[in-house]
Symmetry: C2
Subunit: 465 residues, 2 copies
């Protein structure tokens, strides 16, 4: 591609995205392709000679789009949102266009410093404690996902702990994200070394049970190296009592996973979510979930960067350089598992500036209001019930008819193509999850979702008469 | 941003990138900013209200660009290349515009299937053994970096090994990338459990030394769970004898790191690089280094996916779905550390189609020819010497005047802003590395680099005369 061909192809790509986002609502949210369909349609080998860009873009429509789940569809209510936005898309574009590496400060100082700067903006915006500021012994970094950040927290905890690995134990609740168990396994812990603490009837970690387990482990000569608390569990949005956990876990590393819910703290009325964070050694939340910044963009804060650096730093000769040797700069390669890193802060900077905090708060508040409206409908209809307390913009609910009915309801809703929800288990029973958080989600989308459910329940009532 | 505002801002961003790439040659390759300069220029907090896109784009020029190292500059010869290209940039753009998640097949079937498809294209293009095909027990996945892929290989090896962690040992050469030591540490190995095998005079792993160490460890009751061989070391591009290593290491997991050099295997005359790969359990190379595909894009192949899945799979209720339960689909979240994943295969598909294999081969061959030309100049000038055998497009060399002279030469070259090289140590002495691999690098850039060195050496001779 010559520069002019790039301009033409680039404009076409921008137009394609604009049209996609304008029309995504008309597409079925979930793909209905069968396994192997795209694979079978691909040639068995790469072409020997160049193909024109127009052919590639045509195949995007013909081959790829039918096989997508449309995460940016305004009636996508599954999992947690991964809400993108125009400035974040352009941030990814410019980051790719620059093609710089942020592994060391010296390999692109602006990449590192903008990241430090916007993460401080986020720290202030969320009201996080000063201990997470880079001005002191703490600091923050952008990672790909909360899974990776949680792994880094466990590695820092594991290596900070004086006891050998085999003697260490970790604590989290039965409701914690699967990434905690995965990180523990990666870090070399046996399954039995991760204690899954039971939860109360709000599905929050029971501090009494935690304390008992800590005492039992201590009595048995085991050492608790880390506790992972969750603010907004993936299943139901439950919030662990971080302050009490912090007091109960002594000098273990306290990691707080607020991957989804953390974004809500930019609204002052939701700051309470993060109460107790002054006890935490690390905290992660994902602007790529609910802060209009394209995946991947996970913000990881530590109160003391030294143990993490001790766990992750290796300096081979070919990476040595004068600024690193001076100790005056931050090299983010030591704050993550990979060596190389993209210029991720660019998109976050763009989002924070073009929306402003007021614009981001309006999005969060709008989503929470829509979820509250939906939850009120659930509560008012005797055929439905809330399966867990409403948490911010997440409503877990079920039809009163039992698992079979709920599975059919979920299949019918998702099969319609008009909306998409996912499920979980609460108290051993199926529950449906409606997570509001799309950039383009409006009242009419949530109202339509509710209308679909009512219509299905009406039909069900007739059918089962 | 409204859709029309997005179009206007998007066109402006495309123009910005086109102009950046057209003029990047005129910029100093390495930034001369002092630590903290950008950070000091940023406001202390995010703006409360939205700012116009034009202000943001203006700050990109004013604040960010002066603080970048220009990795796409045609006279960037440092580290290894991270060579971007127009179709890859547009792939990142469209991936961001779609904003889909590829963590499960069901969360966007096309994201998973295109990845399987283009990785098979790469497997065929590089002439990798059939054992890495997804048609059998093997398969391939895109990861962010070779560091992460190497970690996954070690985790699979660690968990496949019947011996407890403390009894296992790992082998790699003294020249292996730092990511091997980092992965071992992450996976819970103590430093002493990673054996650094000495190298021969080409800086390749000595198989006799490996065999001796294996025998000694076996005699001591230790079990070798993994060996990491390197095809194209970061320091000098040395190539370990993979076939002999495979035969020497028994049933240990053999991982081959060809992060940089692997791309050369798309040229049939360089297929010999990968001799012995039929012994390997896993193989990684980075299209983001030398195959015109923007970072991040690391292709990781395994001969048997089962041990990796055993090490990395966790299936919580909220991720269960019918296609996963059917066993008919691939869920790539189980092939990596993070859960979420971007639609990375899109850019690779774009690159393979718009360049064609012939276009990519022409790039690789061009770079190798330029390096050969430069190496011949070094060999012919008595003031300079090769510090290691030339490897593909990497030339390690030094001025005959010793470390002090070479450090001053490196500082002078990089300080000029007209080119950029990095260094390493060979035989305990400083060596300069010239890695050719930029998309826009032509003969005149390498010729200019040589002219700079000659001019510096001339001045040095006069000064010290």
């Amino acid at each position: 591609m010559t520069p002019d061909e790039f301009r033409a192809a680039g404009y076409a790509a921008i137009d394609w995205i604009a049209e996609y986002l304008e029309s995504v609502e008309e597409r079925p949210v979930a793909s209905v392709v069968v396994p192997g369909a795209l694979l079978a349609a691909l040639p068995p080998a790469a072409p020997e000679d160049p193909e024109p860009w127009s052919a590639v873009l045509a195949d995007l429509d013909r081959r790829i789009v039918p096989g997508l789940m449309h995460w940016q569809h305004p009636s996508f209510f599954g999992y947690f949102p991964a809400n993108a936005s125009p400035p974040a898309i352009l941030g990814e574009l410019l980051s790719a266009g620059l093609g710089v590496q942020g592994m060391l400060w010296v390999t692109s100082p602006a990449c590192t410093e903008l990241e430090i700067g916007v993460l401080e903006w986020l720290r202030v915006a969320l009201g996080l404690p000063d201990r997470f500021s880079a001005a002191g012994p703490g600091g923050a970094v952008l990672q790909d996902t909360a899974s990776s950040a949680t792994l880094c927290a466990l590695l820092a905890a594991r290596d900070r702990c004086a006891a050998p690995l085999a003697q260490q134990v970790l604590y989290t609740s039965t409701q914690a994200h699967s990434s905690v168990a995965k990180a523990a396994r990666i870090a070399g812990f046996a399954e039995a070394q991760l204690r899954l603490i039971p939860v109360d009837d709000t599905l929050a970690m029971r501090v009494d049970a935690l304390s008992e387990q800590v005492a039992a482990d201590r009595a048995a000569g085991r050492v608790c190296s880390a506790v992972c608390a969750t603010v907004g569990t993936t299943s139901t949005g439950a919030v662990d009592p971080v302050a009490q956990i912090g007091r109960a876990c002594g000098d273990a590393w306290l990691h707080v996973d607020a991957a989804w819910a953390g974004s809500a703290a930019i609204c002052v009325e939701h700051r309470g979510l993060l109460a107790g964070l002054e006890h935490a050694d690390s905290f992660v939340f994902n602007p790529h979930k609910w802060l209009l910044t394209n995946f991947d963009c996970s913000a990881f804060f530590v109160a003391d960067r030294a143990p993490m650096l001790a766990a992750l730093s290796i300096l081979p000769e070919y990476l040595r350089n004068a600024p690193t040797a001076s100790g005056e700069v931050v090299d983010f390669r030591d704050w993550q598992v990979p060596l190389g890193r993209r210029f991720r802060s660019l998109k976050l900077w763009f989002v924070l500036r073009t929306y402003g905090l007021s614009g981001l708060r309006a999005h969060i508040r709008g989503h929470i209001a829509l979820a509250a409206w939906f939850a009120a409908r659930i509560a008012a209809d005797p055929r439905f019930e809330l399966a867990a307390p409403v948490s911010l913009a997440l409503v877990c609910f079920r039809h009163a008819g039992g698992d079979g009915v709920n599975q059919r309801l979920l299949d019918a809703l998702n099969g319609s193509g008009r909306l998409f929800l996912t499920h979980t288990q609460v108290d051993g029973q199926l529950a449906l999850r409606l997570a509001v958080g799309g950039r383009m989600t409006e009242a009419r989308h949530v109202e339509a979702a509710w209308a679909e459910m009512v219509a299905w329940a009406d039909r069900e009532a007739v059918a089962t008469g």
